[in-house]
Amino acid sequence: MGLSSTTTVNDGIQLCIFDLRRGQQEGQELDKILFFFPAECPFSVQLSVIGLCEGIITFTRIFSPETACEVIEAEKHSHVFYQAEPDIWMVLVVEKNKDNESIWRCDSLQSILKEVHSLFKMFHGPLRALLDKQPSGELTRSHLYSFITDYLTDFHVGKKIQMPSFRDCLRERGSVQMLTISREVALEVQSLITVIGSSCVGNTACNSLVLFQDLLVSTTLSPDDTANLFTYAVLRLTPHALSSNTNSWSYLRRGTSSPNIAAASTVTNAGAAEENQNRSRDTSPGGQSQRYHIQRPLQRDKWCKGKDGFVVTDVPCAEVGGFIPLAPIVWLQQTEERMYLCVYQHKNLTIVLLIPVSSLINGEQGVALLKKQLLENASEKIVTVEQKLSRSWGGENAYHVSGYRYLFVDRDRNVSRASPPGKVTTLTKDSLLALNRLREEVDLEKSRAKRDDPDHEKDSEVCIRAKNNAWVIAKITGGRELYMVLEKASETLLYASDALEKFSNRYCDGAFSLD
């Protein structure tokens, strides 16, 4: 029992979600488990992992009642905690291999938990609400099972699951990557947005996101909702996501085909049904093994582009006459509103349209009508905007800055920009390790400063000349962060500072410049 015994049955990771308000009676402990990956893990192991986590949460509250456990670092494993909702915890257990590749930032792993929870909430609402709606927890478990299993397929490398490591230290999960556009194109885009917005019936305006390739062009949503929908679009909706079953997150895994994912997912799904039945036997005797219609928005190959340009789900690509495609419904955090998700794609341009459910009295038919209206009103503008964006698009390496490997994050806008993945791979392992370590320090200092004085942001600058002579730099100012690695740079600190200054002036509007 315990951690080591589980390593034989999984890929080196475990992911669990548990509710501390459930299963507090002896013999009812299984009831607190809402999700456990891998599902085939014996209950005894699941309980021991969750038991340890629960124990540590209780223990750390003695000293730190506000922020309970965030991470347990052991010799062979890291347990990364995230309290998704009050008393609902997500814990990711990752194994430290001896191959020296399993070095990561705690925050980077935690952001995976945050991301999957945010996406889940977007489609299914808060976990607590689901649990209240159906107190046996079966509905929640079924939703979580398919959702997270589908989500984890993005981390498959071959048959293994690989979490982001130090090699991903020049990326920021959960942030939005924007396309820089000229003033002229911006005006065109704005006019398109206005047309799209007015497509809605009555006086309710439709919200929209416009993406070009995997980059955001415009949004009418709040930063949090934008980040969620952007993440989702890049995972499943953009032409790149639709055309390949590949992982859209890590450049390391780009190009790896995953024909066995669907098969694996079916197998584990079958396991899930059995699992759920077992659990319902175990935890709620006499409980019904009711079957639910489980919406699987993260399932691969679920979306496809129809002839009319709309990207639809839950429908065979060869459309059967008379069948009305379902539009998934998402929750917006900002307005707590339910919206139909409607996606239109023209070449590399993807428009995510959000129609308030409340505005359409006749539901799906209303969506169909609206789509028709959109095509009539906006298709010309869409073609124009796509053409203009394509013409000014600098390609995959558009944001490469020669000599620099960088990551720029604007926390207030939740936007980031980084060196192209292909360029980051040219860095040596030593440089990446040094930056990863520096980022970890910065993460700790930032979160401490935030706790100690939430209203006052702390500015800082760190320039390190690593043992391989690379300069590794982090500069934080006014909610904006810049990380960079300069290999082949001169040895003086002044050179590194100048390089930073030049970059800041040229690409960050002087946000990190001294004057």
Partner: protein
């Protein structure tokens, strides 16, 4: 004179009742009898603490960043001695019996009215615990160990639950709190801290606490647990609270802790040579190590051929000696273990204070060398007096070490191609009386395993500011040394509090703190000048006769 073949008693009360089951390695010879004026052997746990350490006690004020403020750092003048402390001391004075007074002292300073249910206990910023693998408490920095049995069992449970799964827990992080675990055979050490210290530093501090325990007991304590897993170790450490308290206090003022190096009292080259010569002279007569120190600073040290003294051992030895008042008043012959030298065996230390700060430690493997060592000490004392070494030491204490204000920079800055902008910044900082905004520096010679730290100057004037700066250095050190055995080369760090510069070469490490608005170019230039200055003075600020440590 009696020789007690048992375990060295930890206080007077225990001396009649050494645990018969304790099977330790070497026999600790002890010269009994406090009435014996010549050989008044004491372990320094007679209930009185040295004024500079105990006087501050564990006073904690909420607004302070940390809780050890009560202690006075060496180098500071004046002692606390008011209110609660003086009344506690008064109570101690009133009690004749040494054991009772020790208990009163321990109870007072230990916040023994606290346990894990007390809000005050939970709010302490830095806890240290030692417990046995069966969960029995051995030491707690705060609260009565016995009242913390339940808490101690919880710590043990955490360690063992993870161990059962074939893993070893190292760190738990929750908000600003870190819980750091160190397992040393049957001894478990845990630190719970919300200070900003990096985990690696807290781990190093646990290692030192373990080392301090070994210094008192040797590693042969493990055998007791082999025989009886439920062995209760607390009586063996009874009365040693002050040793641990002063070590924990050192974590917040002594750079030796994270640098793993020692520092010397600045002395004219000839004076140190004179001291070294006489130490060398006596060392040839079967002494393993002869160390002449002033507080925590080394004046000179000599080791037998092939024997080297690790800086951590020196730190633990000095802490042990300085935290016990009795060593200051009588000459002492005491078994001690140097954990880095040989964790399994006791050595025998002859300790004698020449004055309130300056003391000689002679270490030998022979338990019967007291009179020989005493003779050696008399010879050394004669020479030190005749050659005026002791007077020079006093002068050095009064004058202090290096002050950043004295950094010679003017000439070379003018001739060194410094541009007009820099000169302007320089003069603006000169207005503060500190060149280039330099506030403080530490220079460590890697070859010598020694460091020199400048004296604190305004604006780093009070103990809290000093501690904050030390913590910043600690983080800088951890950040520079994290990658395997190698380190980064340079680091420049600017935040709201400081500009910090670190420069590591195969020969030295330099850590410097500047005004947060300091000019980068100028700061680099100042660092170069500090290095040059230190090199120019190395004959006086370093002890150059020592062979490098082989570790």
């Amino acid at each position: 004179m009696d020789y007690d073949p048992g375990l060295p008693p930890r206080d007077h009360g225990d001396s009649n009742d050494p645990n018969p089951s304790f099977d330790h390695g070497p026999v600790a010879a002890e010269i009994e009898g406090s009435s014996n004026a010549e050989a008044n052997h004491q372990r320094g746990r007679n209930g009185r603490a040295p004024s500079d350490l105990c006087s501050g006690g564990e006073i904690e004020t909420e607004e302070e960043e940390e809780e050890e403020e009560g202690f006075r750092s060496p180098g500071n003048s004046g002692y606390y001695g008011e209110g609660e402390i003086s009344s506690a001391l008064a109570r101690i004075e009133e009690v004749d019996d040494g054991r009772n007074s020790a208990e009163i002292w321990a109870r007072w300073k230990h916040h023994s009215n606290e346990d894990d249910a007390s809000a005050s206990w939970r709010k302490r910023k830095k806890h240290f615990f030692i417990l046995s693998h069966s969960g029995k408490p051995i030491y707690s920095r705060y609260g009565d160990e016995h009242k913390l049995a339940g808490f101690s069992a919880t710590l043990q449970a955490i360690i063992s639950v993870v161990e059962i799964s074939g893993d070893h827990v190292k760190l738990i992080r929750a908000g600003n709190h870190q819980v750091v675990f160190l397992v040393k055979g049957p001894i478990y050490l845990v630190c719970i801290s919300c200070t900003k210290e990096p985990c690696e530093e807290l781990m190093g501090q646990l290692e030192l606490i373990y080392g301090q325990m070994l210094l008192i007991l040797t590693k042969s304590i493990d055998r007791c647990f082999e025989k009886n897993p439920n062995y209760d170790m607390t009586p063996l450490l009874a009365g040693t609270d002050l040793v641990f308290s002063s070590l924990v206090h050192a974590f917040s003022w002594n750079p030796s802790i994270f640098l793993h190096a020692y520092t010397c009292l600045p002395l004219p080259y000839a004076t140190r040579q004179a001291a070294s010569a006489i130490l060398q002279d006596v060392a040839d007569s079967g002494i393993l190590f002869a160390v002449l120190m002033c507080k925590h600073k080394v004046i000179s040290l000599v080791g037998a051929q092939d024997a080297s003294l690790h800086p951590d051992d020196m730190l633990l030895l000095a802490n042990f000696i300085l935290s016990s008042e009795s060593f200051r008043t009588t000459e002492t012959f005491s078994p001690i273990c140097l954990p880095r030298y040989n964790p399994m065996a006791f050595l025998y230390a002859y300790i004698h204070f020449f004055d309130v700060d300056t003391y000689l430690t002679l270490l030998t493997t022979s338990s019967e060398a007291f009179y020989h060592l005493k003779d050696c000490r008399i010879r050394i004392e004669n020479v030190l007096s005749k050659s005026k070494v002791l007077i020079e030491i006093q002068r050095s204490i009064l004058e202090g070490g290096l002050f950043v204000e004295d950094l010679p920079f003017g000439v070379s800055l003018q001739s060194g191609g410094v541009d007009a902008k820099m000169s302007e910044s320089l003069s603006s900082f000169m207005g503060l009386g500190v060149p280039g905004g330099l506030w403080h520096f530490i220079y460590k010679s890697i070859y010598l395993d020694q460091y020199v730290s400048s004296e604190f100057s305004p604006p780093v004037s009070n103990s809290n500011q000093q501690k904050r700066l030390l913590r910043a250095y600690q983080r800088l050190y951890a950040s520079m040394h994290d990658i395997g055995n190698s380190s980064h080369k340079t680091q420049f760090r600017r935040d709201n509090d400081y500009v910090l510069l670190c420069w590591i070469t195969p020969d030295f490490e330099l850590y410097a703190a500047f005004d947060p608005l300091a000019d980068k170019v100028l700061a680099v230039d100042i660092c170069n000048k500090v290095c040059q200055w230190v090199r120019d003075l190395e004959n006086e600020i370093f002890f150059l006769g020592a062979s490098p440590f082989s570790w």
